[in-house]
Symmetry: D2
Subunit: 362 residues, 4 copies
């Protein structure tokens, strides 16, 4: 078969490992031919492509980014965009399409599938919040980078009796924050799933200080929000600022939180915003394995004729579900993990009336 | 409650993270008191212990090894060993025991449990071959270290047109080999589950060479074996050598394999034996999270009165099973992973009559 | 002898390695006794101290931060501060003092030395800009972390056809920027030593784009400045904002530069501000070696009676100079390194009239 | 100019960084054209080459190995080998040659230079033992890898009350051993420069054990030797075994030493042989910087007409010396570093009559 591949949306460590697995198994076992469309759906719409043979995928397993580049182009939002895609696929003799991407990218896959295109999907979200799959590649790498950063700031926080706030990725869900926060031994973890009370955060830190621990580390997901009717009000206004500059917001949650904590506790507080380093570089072994299994699973789906489906990880098994199920809802941090985070936190303050509730338990 | 903790058998990155989680949740939520027995069962038998308070577990989350040290002492193999343990536990007022260890260590837990001791178990095996749980902490760290080593030897193998054999841990099962082999893009992976034919290995490497890839990386588990009746008889004799020196055998499988490959292919071949660096150092974020969840699960089991049980990971959930179920059999590499490894391998040689079967498919 | 040790100013990977070397050689070879003053000069002024024996320094070699903690307390700025220090040193029977710190900390060392205290100094500046010594420990670690971050953003910049600006430490000098920029293959490097013209920066990036390289990485030292009379006046105003929040400025140079580049080139541009992760965590082997040599050198100076001196690295030799020489001026990036950075940059644009000068050559 | 480049001898992290710097500065500043000869001198002798343009060197800065591959082919040892090289260089219009290599490779450079070829040399030795230059690229990376391994075995040695012997590279000189040993906090360091007495080694370890430190780490260079007339005699015989298999000797010094230590002390002892992982993978920032400076220096030498010279690092300056000076003798570990290592070792045993001399001071 002649098969197209593309990568859409934000890049993720492991995309190249998926591409390599699809191409190797396709060539070795199914005698397929491959074409890579460049820059996501833009490549399909504008006929930008390159052949993908064994040579093209040699040595790419450990590399971050994507050799096909990516973009957020969405043909469904352009007039005749989808028709254009279908025409180009036909003109190029593409018999099936393997699409690596998240919600937005796969919504196009679904529409093209409904339009008759033979599409197979591979889930991609560094935030790990795509419903239907337990883990996405790239997530473990992001957690590793965030955990290393938390390890690093621990020593400097301790040396200076400081609070350090580490802002990690996670717009709608707190997977990276809760994983790296627990793995890094953070004292407070704030996630979008649980709007926080800034006064409670300050109380936890003061309580810890009273116990003789003069430094603290706070991990906050970029999408964490303050509960309405709590704290200083002014903070709410600031978080509502529209971010007209992109992913790393000027005056994002991390810096604001540091300021508010310093005001409320009097402890010297600093913020670190990890930003783009979380999504670059070589994937972890875990992510390379997961990406490879997804790639093998995807090319198998093609040859089993299971179009309109997405490979997913359930427990330890690679399975498949209809694309439409995957893109319908967000996956949130489980209650068990939230409980684990709370378990490790000193809540004895409650009895003393100091701490009314753990900060992310609201 | 007054609770004892011990770590037995070979050390694993994540032991300290388990200890910390048990102690923190125990103190914060259950008002427990903790005693650490030193050097595994030896500490129980010889009354070697230290108090474990908040201070004792501060800062140990990212550290390899175990603050309680370990040993392979097995009281069941000494006269009155078990009775001695029970007496000491009683004399010290220990109401429950949390035991971190593998097969051998937990067989003692089971016997003490049958003798009336309130024991809860946490699985530990860096080889990941303990039945009943999907993953053990330490495994991901070992895979990460092995994968980094494979990445490193790739560049030097390529620079010199060499074959490099990397020997990784795995006496009875090939989990580390298959994970690091797939993640590192190894050309051949040899695991204990599938005795190999040395001539087939040589054929795969020669076939790859014929395709213009002048270097190769072979990953072999320390316990991999050659199928009887294949290859050069002499190798069988050598692998049968009793290893009287311990884990890193003089003249182990890695060095032998390198010699045999060089003889059969004429390609310059070198071996690297990773040995003890695979089990030391700071655990990965994945392992710290898993270890922390095990620790929280174990102290919960104690307070739920579920003695004689072991915390396990099933899919993504922390559950528990009777200790006796866990220690009865070994967990082997799944067929799906073996298929993934084979998927990525060039098997087109078969049609040419060169390669009768992929090397680990026997 | 009874000897005091303290660490002042911002923390640096390697401080613990120095402390360990001083204490080990002192105890093993000179039969010294050690006291650690806590939180820099504050500990001397307020009599906060702890004994430093072999046990206290065991295992600290690979750890970031400082077991003595640090502060920016300057007794010379408090009434009777210096007298207080001298009294406390005398009352505690301290015969000599080993001081680890930068300009500000060592200016107190110098004053106390002039007041009769037997002081020996160890240079410390993560920015590597202390005159008199070729390298300070901590610098190599900071460069390593910055280079890893640059490696990571490279793959994501390439995947998305983006410009990514990485802001690294360096208030007065560009050592970290030039080292990590060259090591990470940055396309533009901006340092405090050479005020830049924002239009030139944009031209370099556009020129690179014209050559078919659709992504770029810009490394900027936090203290880099725009030349007066160039670019968009507004930027000058913004950089002039007083930073009332501390080291990681809201709206620092990195974010501003990203905005200005995007405006001028139309290329999607993002910023990453590394901040505190550059000074935390385990020191590199290079820094541990340098710190250990400094520690050995410092305790030797004490026993040679060379007070008022600082250990320094000249070429590959550990030597000593009067403290007063070291604190008098800043060390700037050498012309050779600036030339190396320029060497690797495509300047052929000049002939085409596009690029009048390399951006940091003004 | 039309310039050839080649890399000879064992590979080293940083070779690609040198190639990139030579080519970039050559193209951007001197308008040169480049050809890469493959597999060292073999490529020159057998006319194996590839063009080196900007595209060829894009993205290679952080990569280990060498894009030109390497070999130990020495044309001077083949009949008419040198003549053949000169003919091929002339036939291909090569006006100058930049040669990256160590002693053996550069001895050919010198002979060709004497035969009229315009050669410029870049030093390469991962062991750091090339006379004339203070540091070679690749060395810092090897030290980093060895130090990480020592860090890792520390935690497992401590958990099990073990001695662990780490064998690192260094045939004739102990640079890697002394650097990684000091940086990793090894308890004994054995280098080729100082033949050791095995009984002294055992005494140091027993003395440490008596002080209550139940684990130890020994770092040994692969070329370390036992002093004649000391120890068990049998060891001498074994170390004399000819290694017919290459770099990682079966039964090398590491494993033997472990066995001898266990016999003499009764402490459980294990060996780890790092081998080829020390020379692979991405170079450290330090090595990338040094390699880049060498590359820039080399192409400058070409255009200054300083043929027959090698770029070297003296203190912090890139300079040049005649090739013939560089290849005439080995550089050994300095007395200062040996003293630093001894400084940190507990020698108080001497007074007790136990330890007559530190182990590597014989």
């Amino acid at each position: 078969m002649k098969i197209g591949i593309l990568t859409g949306g934000g890049d993720c460590p492991g995309l190249n490992a998926v591409i390599r697995a699809v191409v190797r198994k396709g060539i070795f076992h199914y005698n397929d031919q491959f074409v890579g469309f460049l820059e996501g759906w833009r490549g399909v719409q504008e006929n930008m492509m390159r052949p993908l043979d064994m040579e093209a995928v040699a040595g790419i397993l450990p590399r971050g980014g994507t050799i096909l580049r990516s973009s957020r182009t969405n043909p469904a939002k352009k007039e005749r965009g989808l028709e254009q895609c279908i025409e180009n696929l036909n003109n190029n003799g593409i018999e099936a399409l393997v699409v690596l991407g998240g919600d937005d990218t796969q919504s196009v896959s679904q529409k093209l599938f409904e339009g008759g295109v033979k599409v197979v999907a591979v889930p991609k979200t560094i935030d790990n919040d795509l419903s239907g799959t337990d883990f996405c590649f790239g997530f473990d790498t992001a957690v590793m980078i965030a955990t290393e950063a938390i390890d690093r700031v621990h020593t400097t926080a301790e040396a200076h009796n400081r609070v350090i706030v580490v802002e990690v990725m996670g717009r709608d869900s707190g997977w990276i924050a809760i994983y790296s926060g627990i793995a890094g031994g953070a004292d407070v973890i704030l996630i979008p799933e649980r709007p926080f009370d800034i006064d409670d955060v300050a109380d936890v830190l003061k309580h810890r200080h009273d116990r003789g621990r003069f430094f603290s580390v706070v991990v906050v997901a970029e999408g964490a929000k303050m509960a309405r009717g709590t704290g200083s009000g002014s903070l709410v206004t600031e978080t509502d600022q529209v971010d007209d500059f992109g992913h790393v917001r000027l005056g994002g949650i991390g810096n604001m939180l540091a300021r508010e904590i310093e005001q409320r506790t009097g402890f010297e507080t600093r913020a670190v915003v990890l930003g783009h380093i979380q999504r670059g570089g070589s994937p972890t072994a875990f992510d390379r394995m997961l990406a490879t299994r997804y790639g093998v699973g995807a090319i198998d789906l093609v040859h089993e004729g299971k179009f309109g489906n997405m490979v997913v990880l359930r427990g330890n098994a690679i399975q498949s579900i209809p694309i439409i199920e995957a893109i319908s809802k967000t996956s949130y941090v489980s209650q068990e993990l939230i409980d684990v985070a709370l378990s490790l936190q000193d809540r004895r303050g409650e009895e003393r009336g100091g701490l009314k509730a753990a900060p992310h338990q609201r």
